[in-house]
């Protein structure tokens, strides 16, 4: 029955717990809809025939509705609709409430590609690998306009909005490959902003993940995916280098240990920066980000308060890349010794 209805309605395969859950309601709703439309329209047609005019100038009388009919006219649709709502909303609550423990994956949409990043792990463009049978949560943001992640086989979809994170969770049930679409109009290549979800057996997923983490490029599940690029964290460093060149950081900063207009970035991460007002602080990620966004908050002793703010000019991921780049700049000396700039 399930497969019959599914095929009749052209629905794709059911590959998530949510898909299994909502499809039943889907059949009921569409079934009722078809029946209601056919019923009402055909009743109209039948009346057209049954009550066609028979004599010239035929007169008709007002027909008053009995109370029970009025009650039925209001009551039946109301009950039906509220029932749909009740079931639908409880499913929706399921859809918006991820379980306590989920595998979190970060998603970034930008015109016109998807980036998936695993905490402590690899990141990939266009292909999202997830384990079957484990709840996965996508934490999603956009760096330009609104996009939307849509995985028809999971029956799930959520907008990806700049300036915030939205979440989308699912638990894949079938191993396989499923298309992923962008469904929020986002400009020229909106229709080409596609991706693929690869659902892997959990053990295989773990192996793949470990391999990625260790830096070995490995695609465990045989057939390579078209267009798939699995990149290592190191890419972020190169990205950071590119960004800093592009934004002109090197006009003031060096990476070779020499102070210039600004302090050198070599060994900056983990060092203790001393400020004009006498305070000091360990240069961790938060501090590095702050220095870019709000440089005059802490002015390093010995330097002028001249660095411009990059707030609004740096996209979130670019800031992250810069941070990673600065972190990668280590001399032979042990880190954290607080060497003078």
């Amino acid at each position: 029955m399930n497969d019959f209805m599914r095929n009749l309605l052209f629905l794709p395969e059911q590959a998530s717990t949510f898909a299994h859950r909502v499809d039943r309601l889907h059949y009921v709703v569409i079934g009722t809809t078809v029946l209601a439309a056919l019923g009402v329209g055909t009743a109209g047609l039948a009346f057209f025939w049954r009550y066609r005019i028979r004599t010239h100038g035929q007169l008709t009388q007002d027909v008053k509705a009995p109370l029970w009919l009025e009650a039925l006219i209001v009551g039946v649709p109301l009950t039906v609709f509220l029932a749909w709502f009740a079931v639908g909303f409880s499913d929706f609550v399921f859809f918006t409430s991820p379980p306590k423990k989920t595998t979190d994956i970060y998603v970034e949409g930008k015109q016109w590609m998807w980036k998936f990043a695993y905490p402590e792990g690899p990141n990939a463009i266009g292909t999202l690998r997830v384990p079957a049978g484990r709840p996965v949560r996508l934490l999603m943001t956009s760096r330009d306009v609104i996009h939307s992640v849509f995985i028809p086989a999971f029956r799930t979809k959520m907008d990806v909005v700049p300036g915030r994170y939205t979440q989308l969770w699912f638990e894949a049930t079938e191993v396989g490959r499923y298309p992923l679409f962008c469904t929020e109009y986002c400009g020229m290549s909106h229709s080409m902003m596609a991706g693929e979800v690869v659902v892997m057996p959990p053990a295989e997923f773990d192996r793949w993940f470990e391999a990625q983490k260790a830096g070995r490029p490995a695609v465990q599940d045989g057939t390579p995916v078209v267009g798939e690029r699995v990149s290592l964290p190191a890419d972020l460093v190169h990205e950071g280098q590119r960004v800093s060149a592009q934004l002109g950081c090197f006009k003031c900063h060096t990476v070779n240990g020499e102070p210039h207009l600004g302090p050198t970035w070599l060994d900056l991460y983990g060092r203790v920066s001393k400020f004009q007002d006498g305070t000091e602080r360990v240069a961790d990620e938060a501090y590095l980000t702050e220095s870019m966004m709000d440089p005059s908050a802490h002015v390093v002793a010995g330097f002028a308060n001249m660095m411009p703010t990059y707030r609004g000019r740096l996209q979130g991921p670019e800031a992250a890349a810069l941070v990673e780049y600065i972190k990668s700049l280590r001399s032979a000396r042990a880190p954290g010794e607080g060497a003078a700039p």
Partner: protein, 131 residues
């Protein structure tokens, strides 16, 4: 000051009283506005403003002596404004916390620890710019 104009409701005296009332309320709102009442400042200001608006509507605009459609029009407009506000707040106040625009840059609010700096490897996931 005859009142033979059939629809000139209200007398100049009434207008004057309303005017004075409005002035007093303006002063009150100004003074209380400067008093740093914390959480009460906004409700108070709104109550005063609504009272003033009510005075203008009722007397300057003669709604007090009007029946029927204009009254309904105003009431319905007000109702729609209130629902618009209520349902928009129903969204922003209850949505997934990270989906609030003011939460970006507030790293502590992120569920998976700090987005940055969770260890030597760092992560390769997008990082919100601090605003």
């Amino acid at each position: 000051m005859t009142d033979h104009a059939p629809h000139a409701h209200g007398s100049p005296l009434r207008y004057l009283l309303v005017f004075l009332g409005l002035l007093v309320l303006t002063v009150v709102t100004y003074v209380t506005g400067k008093m740093h009442l914390g959480g009460w400042a906004l409700p108070l200001a709104l109550v005063i403003a609504s009272t003033k608006a009510g005075l203008v509507l009722a007397f300057f605009m003669h709604l007090w002596d009007t029946r029927g459609a204009p009254l309904v029009a105003m009431a319905v407009s007000l109702l729609f404004i209130v629902t618009l506000l209520a349902l928009v707040f129903g969204d922003v106040a209850f949505r997934f916390p990270l989906a609030r625009p003011d939460r970006m840059g507030n790293y502590e609010a992120l569920p998976v620890g700090a987005l940055l700096g969770d260890g030597p490897d760092g992560h390769a996931h997008p990082v919100p710019a601090k605003r």
